[in-house]
């Protein structure tokens, strides 16, 4: 059974541990993300969700444990290498290039996926190939009609959408989304749910999210993290009725539904 699950998974995390001083930010975390699904990680603030994402993307090195992506251990690979291997990340704190246009941002993502950039002469803005691919991904998130706008002049919600488009532009095998709905209003959250469910139909997604409505309407699988540990991983329906999860995280809010 376990072997079977592993064969079917894109990302396989085994006994991952990371401590900062005396605090165990990641405490023996094992997870397996199935190909093609949307897997959400929920948990209270400080549960270690972002630290987990940072270890998966290569920003932080774990103390012990292993991460297998697409059948190979990526533990020794750096951030850039993991990204090129097809593991694209979006950030909790919006990390788009505010000084550039929407299109230029998306083009950077495409450029990152297209091999080396030691090309010193041809101007990027005349690179139609790059722009066309970037436009496709902007269309996915609905920003194609505003592609010429400078990013600092667009709304927070649109910047979050661009963040997703940049990750998509890298044509990854899997997306790591760190709170894609962070700081969004109702309307914007609704729009993002639409976007992610269409993206999720084609790509594997591992997302960390606080917004329960979003999680429950998007995710196939749910993992609950508390104090650096994964206390439960199961389907959405089963997690919602799991008494231990309700006690430690969901509180009474679920009982009312």
């Amino acid at each position: 059974m376990k072997q079977n699950m592993r064969a079917d998974s894109v990302l396989f995390i085994r006994s991952l541990c990371k401590s900062f001083g005396g605090i165990k930010a990641t405490d023996d975390v094992s997870l397996s993300v199935c190909r093609g699904g949307i897997h959400a990680v929920i948990g209270p603030n400080g549960a270690g969700k972002t630290t987990l994402i940072a270890q998966l993307s290569g920003q932080i090195r774990p103390d012990s444990g292993d991460i297998e992506f697409d059948g190979r251990s990526i533990l020794r690979a750096g951030m850039a290498q993991r990204a090129r291997a097809g593991l694209a990340r979006s950030f909790q704190i919006t990390s788009v290039f505010r000084e550039m246009t929407i299109l230029e941002n998306a083009m950077l993502g495409v450029q990152g996926a297209q091999g080396h950039s030691y090309r010193f002469w041809a101007p990027v803005h005349q690179d139609q190939d790059l722009a066309d691919i970037a436009m496709d991904h902007l269309m996915t998130v609905g920003l194609h009609h505003r592609s010429g706008r400078i990013v600092s002049s667009i709304s927070h919600g649109e910047q979050r959408q661009l963040e997703v488009a940049m990750a998509l532009a890298m044509q990854p095998k899997m997306l790591l989304l760190d709170e894609p709905m962070a700081g969004m209003g109702k309307e914007e959250t609704f729009r993002m749910i639409e976007i992610l469910s269409s993206v999720g139909a084609e790509k594997t997604i591992l997302m960390v999210e606080h917004d329960m409505d979003a999680v429950f309407s998007l995710a196939d699988q749910l993992s609950v993290m508390v104090n650096g540990r994964v206390i439960a991983t199961d389907s959405v329906a089963k997690i919602r009725s799991n008494p231990e999860v309700q006690k430690s995280y969901l509180g009474g809010s679920c009982a009312k539904d």
Binding site: M79, A80, F97, G112, Y118
Partner: protein, 315 residues
């Protein structure tokens, strides 16, 4: 993104280049050899400032040791000349190779650090070079080295006269401007600019930014080294003093008052810096005081530098 200087102020820039192009003729007509001398120096330092701007303005790498490459370039003329080797191609290739190597080694170490640490470590490396030349008795140590003749090139490259020397400097300036103009708009340039704004994000997009930044650092050093070759030829006297870290500070000043991350800004900065220095020192011996005050005012109130003001004029 660094604003595309090709659109708004293109007339100002072309006018500026035109003026620089005819300046020697005007100076000759009015019999002002001193001004030609000052302008030649200004353009050489301008090229050095342009090269610094490539890493500082576009790449966000604040190096407080950039004049080391100016010095290395000049000594690559001076030391062979000391042994009666005047072949210009030898001087040039020596300068390119030495600057590239030194930049590769020191850059590989420096670029492991960020911010203040990068500033300090680049300064430390340039002080190393400074003290090495200061202790080389054979090449004059702190007394400096006199270069008795200019680099020899095939007949069609004649650097003997003051005016032809000026036009070779002017030529390298145009080349440098065009090269940087293309470079910062290329794929490579996008990576460099992107990593200035958010290096982590660039890595997460699959760019191994360290390699790109190191390459940029080496390119910048080589351009500065070429300016050094011109400087060695131009001044015919070189000394370790030109590599002291305060000189690097001046170079940073020129870039900032001219406009960081703009193509022409550092050239404007270098020219105004040198002319102001010269003009003020004619007025009073306490000119440093006024000069310092002016620089502070420029940095405080001159947002975006001279280049930004010119763009406003052009609107």
């Amino acid at each position: 993104m660094a604003k595309p200087s090709g659109t708004r102020s293109v007339k100002v820039y072309l006018g500026m280049l035109f003026l620089l192009g005819i300046a020697p003729l005007l100076f000759q007509w009015t019999n002002q050899p001193f001004l030609l001398d000052l302008l030649s120096r200004g353009l050489i330092i301008g090229i050095a400032a342009l090269s610094l701007n490539l890493i500082l303005g576009y790449g966000g790498m604040i190096s407080l040791g950039h004049v080391a490459y100016l010095g290395i370039g000049a000594y690559c003329v001076g030391i062979p000349a000391y042994y009666d080797i005047y072949d210009g191609w030898i001087h040039l290739s020596l300068a390119v190779v030495t600057c590239a190597l030194f930049a590769l080694i020191t850059g590989a170490v420096s670029l492991r650090t960020k911010g203040v640490y990068f500033i300090m470590i680049t300064m430390a490396f340039s002080q190393m070079i400074y003290f090495i030349f200061l202790s080389l008795e054979e090449y004059g140590a702190d007394d400096g080295l006199v270069i008795y003749a200019r680099s020899e090139f095939p007949v069609w490259i004649n650097m003997e006269g003051a005016i032809s020397m000026y036009y070779w400097i002017f030529g390298l300036l145009i080349l440098t401007l065009f090269f940087i103009h293309r470079l910062v708009r290329s794929r490579f340039g996008r990576v460099i600019i992107g990593s200035k704004y958010n290096d982590l994000r660039m890595q997460s997009l699959g760019f191994n930014t360290y390699g790109y930044r190191l390459t940029c650092y080496v390119i910048s050093a080589v351009i500065c080294g070429l300016a050094g070759v011109l400087l060695g030829n131009f001044t015919s006297f070189i000394s370790p003093e030109m590599m002291s870290w305060t000189r690097s500070g001046e170079l940073i000043f020129m870039v900032i008052i001219g406009g960081t991350g703009s193509l022409f800004g550092p050239l404007f900065g270098a020219l105004s810096f040198l002319f102001l220095e010269e003009a003020l020192s004619l007025i009073t011996i306490y000119w440093h005081l006024i000069f310092g005050g002016l620089l502070i005012a420029l940095v405080l109130f001159g947002k975006g530098g001279i280049d930004a003001w010119l763009s406003k004029l052009d609107k």
